[in-house]
Chain length 317, copies 2
């Protein structure tokens, strides 16, 4: 459609309108553009087209995985991200179909007017799969592919924690998380780059889960290997809390011996003992933005990816 | 169907299966029960029947109203209620269609396997309207009609606050909220009954909104009328917080001059200054129960209404 717009010297929106017989394009132009499309062999994605014409006023929100008793539905994202999305969509008269990737084969998803994908997964397969539906789609995560992505500035998140550790005189920091996850890869990159400027190379402890148990486990593994470390950057608040509890058990004080910073600044972080330092993401705003962008795209507007700033909240750890 | 089951001396499930040609009922019995149904003039709700046979693996969650910038989508319920519902449904392979009552005319809702209605509204019209769809339905709210209702023990909530005020020596309590709302009517009833046992009659200040502004406004109206009062039971934490701020401005101390108790024990309540006393409802558990009951009903099991206990959390106000 973009090529066609260039060829005809009109906007993509005009092409889209002309091909859908919209009265917003005058008849003459409409017929000229339709003829051009046919000549150029432009193949309309008919099923996507039909679906878009038959508005269901529903946006599907697809979460990465089926939840279990150990993992919440939205993990690692908090409920408030869904709250921001739902509030904005329902305020505009849209229903929200919340489903998992496994559930997303259902006819209901294909009948949605648009998709919001929460998380890109460790590989991009899932994103591509949904892309094939030809629906307006916005992804929460890290920028870097051809999709419209809304996400926090994870690189900045990594950088501010690195600067914080350096300012405290820490020289042996550890990063806990799984960089196969695109957002966590960004945090690690920011962290490593900022530390490199001070001649410091952090240690990476790869952990898939975002749980208390996993954070504790990471500390035990470090202590078992007798690796020297004086700071821990954990990729979730639960990981950080688990790390602190384990360090205390192992006879190391926080923040005396080891500084710890978590991620997300969940409500529990401030009331944790000791109150947890953490990188705050604005989830409500993120959810609102995802919804606004998908609604704009449903209305044939072009949207760009957008990155939200993060903030280090320094508490006692 | 219940009458038919009695007539035939079999269970309701067997009737249901026989009428849907389920192989779980042997052919002879099936034909006998189908003939009986026809004789008895049993009228199958065909469209509901069809919808139920064509499983969409979707449960629609219907919230009371379209949100605005002033009112959140779930108001007066918190996001965690939706979290409990969604977690349980997605864990069982179901998608969740979140919609408002206005949006609930959409075909998608009618294709759902079951409905969860959040709130009964001030009249029961809405509940009856959805009842007509013939789908398994569970309602969050106050018990009292023929539907399966899950809710907190609002009457107990009113009672414990009354007892608390009496134990503090308060003699002139005020109730802030709108008893047209069935759950709030229950709270008021519990409050009034428990106070009556001590010869105390509370004052009712009717307020529709659950906002800070509305709580402040209620206090101004009391002070303007020079009504004596020494305790405020507000039907939401925001109402209570607004009341406290207004009382302070008007030169009355909390809890010195006036005791204040809110409702819901939202996360903010504990970190409010002064920390707010509030009646806690277990929203996560409530959401899980709603989901479990609707799933059981989708699988042709009978379910009963259920009331969850509440707890007064006494903090500084």
């Amino acid at each position: 459609m973009a090529d066609l717009a260039k060829m005809a010297g009109v906007s993509k929106i005009t092409i889209s309108r002309a091909l859908s017989d919209s009265p917003l394009v005058n008849r003459e132009t409409r017929e000229r553009l339709q003829a051009l499309a046919q000549e150029a062999g432009y193949k309309l994605n008919v099923s996507a087209r039909n679906l878009r014409l038959r508005r269901s006023h529903t946006v599907a929100v697809i979460v990465e995985m089926k939840p279990s008793h150990d993992r919440t539905m939205l993990d690692p994202y908090p409920l408030v991200l869904l709250g921001g999305i739902s509030q904005e969509l329902t305020a505009h008269g849209y229903s929200v179909l919340l489903t998992t990737r496994q559930g997303a084969t259902a006819a209901a998803v294909q009948a949605a007017d648009g998709l919001i994908l929460l998380g890109q997964g460790s590989r991009q397969d899932a994103v591509r799969r949904f892309d094939k539906l030809g629906l307006p789609m916005v992804v929460w995560g890290a920028p870097g592919d051809e999709h419209v992505v809304v996400g926090s500035d994870n690189r900045q998140g990594g950088r501010v924690v690195a600067e914080h550790f350096v300012s405290l005189g820490r020289r042996n920091p550890v990063f806990v998380g799984n960089p196969n996850h695109p957002e966590i890869f960004e945090r690690l990159t920011g962290f490593v780059d900022a530390l490199a400027a001070h001649g410091i190379k952090p240690l990476l402890i790869r952990r898939d889960e975002f749980t208390l148990a996993s954070g504790g486990d990471a500390m035990h593994s470090l202590m078992d290997r007798a690796v020297p470390f004086d700071a821990v950057f954990a990729c979730s608040d639960l990981l950080a809390m688990g790390a602190i509890r384990a360090l205390n058990k192992l006879g190391r004080t926080v923040p005396g011996d080891v500084s710890v910073v978590g991620y997300d600044d969940m409500p529990l972080a401030a009331s944790f003992l000791p109150p947890l330092s953490s990188v705050r993401q604005d989830w409500q705003e993120g959810g609102t933005l995802l919804a606004r962008k998908v609604l704009a795209m449903i209305n044939d507007q072009q949207e760009q990816s957008e990155t939200l700033p993060v903030e280090l909240v320094v508490r006692e750890t």
